[in-house]
């Protein structure tokens, strides 16, 4: 089809059409949240969501703190130190499949393994632990894809110059695939901030400012889910759920910008 001129124009048309459709969907969804939530963005809601924001940032921070080194190092090992044998393919395959497990199952795993079995308390720490496991497959996959996109000959170039695999990693691989990893981090942040099912059993519903990771608390997403669950949770019912959703989007925006800023500074200095 691509070899006929009508085929080319058709594909071009479809490409533009898909983008227009995407833009409409994306702006409708974003617009819906802003319109529904803007009315409830008053000082009182901001004050009420300060503990939620803090809890959310704690979960994001600790989850990434665990998942990032674990995920990146695992991806490096899978891509560089293995010969892509059958075992490695099977492992990568099962990691991919874990991406599809519904987060409710991670939630139940957290409840019965961390709480019932190990005896941890319901706390922000437990929530962060389970979230680090939830985003682990995402980070491993994104980092591996990033390493794959580095030109093969750049890696061979460095190895050819007698650099060991290890120095190749630091000099060539990590600097070059930072952008891929950053995208993985952004997807992971999105997943952690928006997650409810995986953590609602283990994080409690307290809405006070937590003092330590051992305290309970609710993130923006779990509070929002609770309000939808029982609108009497907040004074103006479901409306404040939209308000919190807006604040949540704000946090996602700030976190994404922060990550990109860190990446930019790292590149300028590196």
């Amino acid at each position: 089809m691509l070899n006929r001129s009508w085929g080319v124009t058709l594909i071009k048309l479809l490409t533009y059409l898909a983008t227009i459709l995407l833009v409409i969907l994306v702006f409708c969804l974003a617009g819906f949240i802003v319109i529904q939530g803007i009315g409830f963005l008053n000082k009182e809601l901001f004050k009420e969501s300060v503990p939620l924001i803090i809890t959310t940032l704690m979960v994001v921070g600790l989850a990434l703190l665990i998942a990032l080194p674990l995920g990146i190092f695992s991806a490096i090992y899978l891509q560089i130190y293995t010969n892509n044998g059958r075992f490695v393919k099977a492992m990568r395959f099962s990691i991919d499949s874990l991406n599809g497990i519904p987060s409710i199952i991670f939630g139940l795993f957290a409840l019965s393994f961390f709480i019932y079995y190990i005896g941890l308390n319901r706390s922000i720490l437990t929530a962060s632990l389970i979230m680090s496991i939830v985003v682990l497959p995402l980070i491993i996959k994104n980092t591996e894809e990033a390493i794959k996109t580095i030109k093969v000959d750049q890696i061979q170039g460095s190895l050819a110059l007698g650099a060991s695999k290890f120095t190749t990693i630091n000099r060539v691989i990590i600097p070059y695939c930072i952008d891929g990893i950053i995208n993985g981090v952004i997807l992971a942040i999105g997943k952690i901030v928006g997650e409810t099912a995986a953590i609602m059993f283990v994080i409690g519903t307290a809405s006070v400012i937590p003092h330590s990771f051992m305290d309970q608390g609710s993130t923006l997403a779990t509070k929002l889910y609770l309000i939808i669950q029982e609108p009497t949770y907040s004074s103006n019912g479901i409306g404040s759920a939209y308000g919190i959703a807006l604040i949540l989007l704000l946090i996602v925006v700030l976190l994404n910008l922060l990550v990109k800023l860190v990446n930019y500074l790292f590149k300028k200095r590196g």
Binding site: L17, L25, L29, S97, G100, T149, K151, A245
Partner: protein
């Protein structure tokens, strides 16, 4: 030299610890789900549609829900993959950088939206539209398979686009120049060469997108109506395996809870099948340059 040994053992430890963690979850699901499979029987569970977990002699038939998951996953991916890939191509190759950054900025945010809110968006728009136009039909409430497909497509689009755009941008410009040098026009260059070169990234996007669709609970439960029936037409309510786990797990106990974990095993197998299909397509498509 010592630093290198330390880091290389660290890499090894990381992959071992990571796979242990992930294995733990798989074992957990199989451990919890196995009693139901043994007692109620795997075959009976898969080929019987009757799900009455709390009845006197309970039946744990998952057939209708398996079909619902299969239908909703395939149809939603049939929407989100083409739109995702086509719009990623447009964003990377056909639109100036400023527009692309604005759209990507919002798409990245939408990847972070809690699915409950996307569920409410579709509930307030698609579901009420369907109800207003089909209310006269008995048993139609707007909450339907169609709405579930719409919400799943909406949920998976940001993931697919973010990964696709990332892999398209990483395509080596030498392919573009080679293709244009042979007299191919822009569209041919993109679709015949660049997509082929970025193939492994695009397949990663599809796998992540499929994972997001199969694993979605909160949004689907809001719009699908959650009634268990054979997916005959798009306007009837439906319940996917994942929604079933989410709705009933909080009150399930004993064999009922094991049956829910068993459906988790079935989900895991379905995800593996999708991955296998995608891997075969990836390799069958001839050459893999990475």
């Amino acid at each position: 030299m010592k630093k290198q040994v330390f880091f290389e053992t660290l890499y090894k430890l990381s992959i071992i610890f990571a796979s242990l963690l992930l294995l733990l979850i798989i074992i957990f699901i199989f451990l919890e789900g196995f009693p139901a499979l043994r007692e109620y029987g795997f075959i009976k569970m898969i080929f019987n549609g009757e799900w009455q977990p709390t009845a006197k002699n309970p039946s744990f038939g998952l057939l209708y829900m398996i079909l619902s998951t299969v239908v909703s996953t395939i149809l939603s991916l049939l929407i989100s993959i083409p739109i995702g890939i086509l719009s990623s191509v447009c964003l990377v190759r056909m639109v100036n950088a400023k527009i692309k950054n604005i759209i990507m900025f919002i798409v990245e945010i939408l990847a972070g939206i809690p699915s409950v809110i996307v569920g409410f968006f579709v509930l307030k728009t698609v579901v009420s539209f369907l109800y207003d136009h089909f209310y006269y039909m008995v048993g139609v409430s707007g909450n339907s398979m169609l709405a579930a497909i719409f919400v799943l497509a909406l949920m998976s689009l940001p993931t697919i686009i973010t990964v696709c755009v990332n892999s398209l941008e990483a395509v080596d410009p030498m392919y573009t120049e080679a293709s244009l040098g042979l007299g191919a026009n822009k569209i041919q260059t993109i679709y015949k060469v660049e997509l082929r070169a970025a193939r492994s990234g695009i397949f990663a996007a599809i796998v992540l997108g499929a994972g997001r669709v199969i694993g979605e609970t909160m949004a689907v439960m809001l719009v699908s109506g959650n009634a268990i029936n054979l997916p005959k037409n798009l306007l009837e309510p439906t319940r996917t395996l994942t929604s079933n786990i989410a709705t009933e797990m909080s009150y399930a106990s004993g064999l009922h809870q094991n049956a829910l974990y068993a459906s988790g095993i079935i989900l895991f197998i379905m995800i593996m099948i999708i991955n296998i299909v995608l891997l075969v397509l990836l390799n069958k498509g001839g050459v893999d340059n990475a």
